[in-house]
Symmetry: C2
Subunit: 126 residues, 2 copies
């Protein structure tokens, strides 16, 4: 059972917006794009179509408008994406990645606290 084809970079942007909106039409997704990210309406349409083909979202017609909604959760996509990436780039060792995230201020202090908690909890479980 071959798993879903991976998301391409642009498809990820669209997926993110759809997660955010919950469900939406092409137009809504298009409008939700940050202004500086110039992208054509029909391009977004194509991405959504491809996302549907790949099984990440489902779309159904509501009148003459197609409404899309996420079919796969962010968690799942992270898992599939990151695991593949970490394997290819570091043979499975995720620490370099963590290090980067922590050291390069990519996360806020608040998040640091949450992180600490995650670690605690994980240690508890063990």
């Amino acid at each position: 059972m071959t798993h879903r084809p991976a998301l391409s970079k642009s498809e990820m942007e669209v997926a993110r917006i759809l997660w955010q909106l919950g469900n939406a039409t092409v137009r809504e997704v298009h409008e939700a794009f940050p202004a500086e990210r110039a992208i054509d309406f029909t391009t977004v349409q194509t991405y959504l179509r491809r996302l549907e083909q790949k099984g990440y979202v489902s779309g159904k017609l509501d009148g003459r408008t197609r409404v899309y909604s996420p079919k796969v959760k962010p968690r799942t996509v992270i898992r599939e994406t990151i695991d593949d990436l970490v394997d290819r780039l570091f043979g499975g060792d995720a620490l370099p990645l963590m290090r980067h995230l922590i050291e390069d201020q990519k996360i806020s202090d608040e998040e640091l606290a949450q992180l600490r908690e995650l670690i605690d909890r994980r240690e508890q479980d063990k």
Copy 2:
């Protein structure tokens, strides 16, 4: 100055091996591939050529054999790759990614300790 074109997935595998070997010929890289990852010698050759074109490695002839060596450090590639990914997938919020790495046992207990230390240090700096 437009930055380096991103690495493709397969190129990442090759980059990883080259980092591991420090520097190597096509043959050496090819042989370092895990046995189950069937891949042709000339395919590896192509990836290395592309990696060179993209500026990630440099290759120079030693006699009639070309020897490649990394030109960009892992850290840099992580930065470029992960930041892009996190942006597209989560609009810059790295926490979901961290959560995944910690919760899904992608890192060992030992690494957890190191992680804790990283967090401490980062907090110290602030």
